[in-house]
């Protein structure tokens, strides 16, 4: 801008120099904002500790990928693209907004560095951005008001619909765009075209055209009015942000910076309290709001209310009482209530279970991780659910259905209460030329095959153990199993909140693993994989059998015969604890594709990190939440829709659930479920 026909800084308002007002508004606005932020920080200071300051370079990379590059947004394409537009629009317009504020009391202000050529480029970019944002906002508003995507719906018992709030904020954003462009358009119209023209077809350009020929005094008035609207709206919006889901505008960058780096593991009961000292704690788990860590409270602030987590949540899909989105929203609202901007924070200890959360709600989660995979701002759910369960276990409110297997795990080291001495009885009949060495008889080996409970005791799953043993033998792996001294890995004991029992099992197994002198562990059970890799410390590196097979297939060590019946179509169901939690999507596929001529399809939209949980493993097999349908049935129907007649999976719990589901879905005889090791074992060249 070379010369200015008028400026808000030199205007008069109500007989006063307007710049006073325009200096006051930002001052008051920023002061209010600072006050609100300080109040919002109060509960975080009361929250439990949570060390999130390590591995800073990785954290910065996450911020660049997930926050700046909006990596997860396009998973929901339409909303994702629109959000990216609005997000980048906000980033681009940040400079312009700052300039706007100062223009109110410094006429002709230009941000340092944005004079000259760079400024000219910026002007073009900012006009395009503002226009794009407005278009996006209109589309978003129509989408919310008219098309009403299902994931935004609010169940009746959880309160009023959030659409009015959403539309209000979209309106504010639109107002900012319009008022800024009008402000600019008025100036350009006064200066006259064509020397100073906005980029064609932008909002500014539109206003410039519309206002051509309007007298300068009127333009001055319009310019001033637009400025007032923009200034007030800007600071109103800024101060509004911390009161609802738009708090994420401020908190998201921090939330992503502090998000989970290690997948698969569960937070310790209390950061900074070593396992050996847990007995000394007065209370375990999260029972009241203040038991949450500060990062979890930040999560509640950051929830965008987008509903993507609940949309992908399998428990929510089958109408269990759990909706992850509302875990966040209800807690956020409780936090706002207990820590108001004006007035004293609450000091009473109000239990969460029986308050904002119900017991069934928290027991419904299968810890599949779909929610965390989806969340665009890095909110964590599994740790919160586990902490809430820890609290319930500490209080003794555990469903009867889970008490029996927990008691059996404590006494017998497996949830069915089967005799310890029968843990290795699956080795009988494993096949000619295959010996399964037992550590309990003094054998040692390079590799330890950690079988875990279901594969050891369930007669259907014992076939998987035998197949795994045969595959390992064929692949030339020198392996042994622990035998009767092996106890349940405790993976789901931990995730159901019985941390002390988990510690006991972990300590016992760690000793047994050390005693085996193995340097490497192999498992067929992804829950065991996750426990040994991510929950245990001081044990050798763990691999899943699919990785061994993939390697063997790749190197030629494992030669697989073509199928005798090549008419069937196979699909792979990614187990949650192999795929999402441990990133092993490719190895099982390579293993399957190692069978010449096999026809394999993907369950598009529901594979890899979007795999739909089979229903859950470990203790979830014993628990019976209220639901309208079994998750396994949903999965089987997805397989059928993809054109498959064989579902291959790589987890004994998935196999159990899917085989049951095939019966329930009435597809017996038309759909088969098979474990990867069974499939490969069947095709091993003799």
């Amino acid at each position: 801008m070379t010369h200015e026909p008028f400026s808000p800084a030199t205007a008069t308002l109500f007989g006063m120099p307007a710049w006073v007002l325009f200096a006051l508004i930002p001052f008051v606005g920023l002061a209010c904002f600072a006050w609100i932020i300080a109040r919002r920080a109060v509960p975080l200071r009361r929250g439990a500790p949570d060390p999130r300051f390590e591995r800073v370079p990785e954290r910065i990379l996450l911020v660049v990928k997930i926050w700046l590059a909006q990596w997860r947004q396009p998973r929901y394409m339409l909303a994702g693209v629109l959000h990216i537009v609005v997000f980048f629009g906000f980033l681009i317009l940040a400079a312009r907004s700052m300039q706007m504020v100062v223009l109110g009391f410094v006429p002709g202000f230009v941000l340092p560095g944005l004079g000259g050529a760079l400024g000219a480029v910026y002007n073009v970019v900012k006009d395009l951005a503002a226009t794009a944002v407005l278009v996006a906002v209109v589309i978003l508003a129509v989408r919310r008001a008219y098309f009403r995507p299902a994931r935004y719906a609010v169940p009746e018992k959880l309160g009023k619909d959030h659409t009015p709030e959403a539309l209000f904020v979209l309106g504010l954003i639109g107002t900012l765009m319009v008022s800024e462009s009008l402000f600019e358009g008025a100036v350009l119209a006064a200066e006259g075209a064509p020397a100073h023209s906005a980029t064609p077809l932008t909002l500014t350009w539109t206003f410039q055209q519309a206002l051509a020929g309007v007298p300068v005094s009127t333009l001055k008035g319009i310019n001033l009015a637009a400025y007032v609207v923009h200034d007030l709206t800007f600071f109103f919006f800024l101060c509004l942000l911390p009161f609802g889901k738009h708090f994420h505008v401020i908190t998201s960058i921090f939330n992503v910076f502090f998000m989970r780096l290690r997948p698969g593991n569960v937070k310790p009961v209390a950061h900074g309290v070593p396992d050996a000292q847990l007995d000394g704690l007065k209370s375990l788990g999260v029972k009241t709001f203040e038991d949450f860590t500060w990062k979890h409270m930040l999560d509640f602030y950051s929830c965008v209310d987008c509903g993507r987590c609940s949309d992908r949540c399998p428990a929510n899909h089958v109408k269990r009482p759990l909706s992850p989105r509302f875990i966040s929203i209800k807690a956020r609202d409780l936090c706002f209530q207990r820590y108001p901007i004006f007035g004293k924070p609450a000091t009473d200890a109000v239990p969460l279970i029986g308050g904002i959360y119900s017991e069934d709600e928290i027991w419904s989660c299968t810890t599949c991780g779909a929610c965390e995979e989806e969340c665009p701002v890095g909110i964590e759910y599994i740790d919160k659910i586990v902490d809430l369960r820890r609290g319930m276990v500490d209080e003794g409110t555990v469903p009867q259905s889970i008490q029996k297997p927990l008691s059996a795990l404590e006494k017998r080291g497996n949830p069915w209460g089967k005799l310890e001495k029968k843990r290795a009885s699956w080795t009988e009949g494993v096949g000619e030329g295959v010996t399964v060495k037992l550590v309990e008889t003094g054998a040692t080996a390079e590799t330890l095959y950690f079988v875990d409970s279901i594969t050891s005791y369930d007669d259907r799953m014992q076939k998987l153990a035998r197949a795994t043993a045969r595959i390992l033998t064929k692949a030339g792996v020198d392996f042994a199993i622990i035998g009767k001294d092996e106890k349940d890995s405790g993976h789901d004991v931990r995730r159901f909140g019985e941390e002390m029992l988990f510690q006991t099992l972990k300590d016992h197994n760690t000793e047994a693993i050390k005693a085996s002198t193995a340097r490497r562990i192999v498992v067929n059970d992804p829950h065991a994989l996750n426990a040994l890799r991510n929950d245990y410390a001081d044990v050798p590196p763990v691999e899943h059998i699919s990785e061994v097979i993939a390697r063997g297939v790749g190197s030629g060590a494992l030669k697989l015969e073509p199928l005798s019946d090549s008419s069937r179509t196979y699909t792979f169901h990614d187990p949650c604890y192999l795929g999402r939690h441990n990133g092993a999507y490719d190895a099982p596929r390579q293993a399957i594709d190692g069978i010449p001529g096999i026809r394999r399809v993907e369950m598009e939209g529901n594979c890899r990190d979007r795999s739909f949980c089979c229903g859950g493993g470990g203790l979830m097999l014993f628990h019976e939440p209220e639901e309208e349908q079994r998750m396994g049935v949903v999965r089987v129907q997805q397989a059928k829709a993809a054109g498959a007649d064989v579902i291959v999976t790589a987890c004994p719990f998935c196999l159990t659930n899917i085989e049951d589901a095939i019966k329930v879905a009435g597809l017996e005889g038309r759909m088969q479920a098979l474990d990867l090791v069974e499939l490969v074992d069947g095709q091993l060249q003799s």
Binding site: L278, D279, L284, V393, D394, E395, G396, T397, V398, Q400, Q403, K404, L406, S407, A408, E410, K411, R412, G417, L419, E420, K421, E498, M500, L501, T504
Partner: protein, 263 residues
């Protein structure tokens, strides 16, 4: 209310395969895990819930078993206020009446309004509660599955009888009730809870402390004596029945009748 709950340490039949040892003298105990008798656990939970409502305290007592301390402690971890162990060499070999006699002596040492037992235990006799009530000369009700306490000097109770029917009665206090499973949902007791009560003192009373004459109970006083264990002959795997549908149905009918399958 002051409540005394009688508990027994039993092999956990859910988690054990019970087999007979050589000569039938005893069952094989090497691999057994023990826990509090399931029915007794429901009784303790019920007592704790009553005391949470009405005030008072819950005392858990176990007789004749020197290893019962672990289960009494577990019930205290669950929420019982006191524990009590009744052991004496002279108690060994007591039959059901003997045990009831020992428990009676303990019950009279306190001032209890209510005594609870489990409806039955591992030997399926379901006798101690009824005997104890008769020895104390207190009213009795068995297989109680509901207790209401707000009825003055009585309780309103539900008993579970055949056909799933509920028999509602009023019973005067003090009384003895044997508790049926399913009356409530016992709270969970984890390792942590048990560690918390690990060093709480549990008093032990012998026959002298109970004011009982030696020889009143124990093997000498027992009228019922188990001589040995055995397992009736069974083949491995199923005995397969062949024949025409008529024949098979006929054979099944005979088997069902013989085994009490036709009611």
């Amino acid at each position: 209310m002051e409540i005394l709950v009688c508990v027994k340490r039993v092999p956990d039949s859910a988690e054990n395969e019970i087999s007979v040892g050589p000569g039938g003298a005893d069952i094989v105990r090497d691999d057994l895990v023990y826990s509090v008798n399931e029915w007794d656990n429901y009784a303790v939970e019920e007592a704790i819930q009553i005391v949470e409502r009405e005030g008072g305290s819950v005392t858990v007592v176990s007789a004749c078993d020197s290893e019962a301390e672990e289960i009494v402690r577990r019930e205290m971890a669950m929420g019982a206020n006191q524990g009590l162990l009744l052991t004496d060499a002279a108690f060994t070999g007591s039959d059901g009446l003997g045990i009831a006699t020992i428990l009676k002596a303990a019950a009279l040492k306190g001032k209890y309004d209510l005594v609870l037992t489990g409806a039955q235990a591992d030997d399926g006799a379901a006798q101690v509660g009824g005997m104890l009530a008769a020895l104390l000369d207190w009213p009795y009700a068995s297989v109680v599955n509901k207790i209401e306490t707000n009825v003055g000097a009585s309780l309103r109770i539900g008993r579970e009888i055949e056909g799933g029917n509920h028999e509602i009665s009023e019973i005067d206090l003090p009384c003895v009730l044997s508790i049926q499973t399913g009356i409530n949902e016992p709270r969970y007791v984890g390792i942590r809870g048990i560690r918390k009560v690990a060093s709480v003192e549990i008093p032990v009373m012998d026959s002298e402390a109970l004011g009982m004459a030696k020889g009143a109970v124990g093997a000498t006083g027992a009228k019922v004596r188990r001589v040995d264990y055995f397992v009736p002959q069974l083949g491995a795997g199923a005995e397969m029945i062949q024949g025409s549908t008529e024949d098979v149905a006929g054979k099944l009918l005979d088997l069902l009748k013989a085994k009490g399958g036709i009611k």
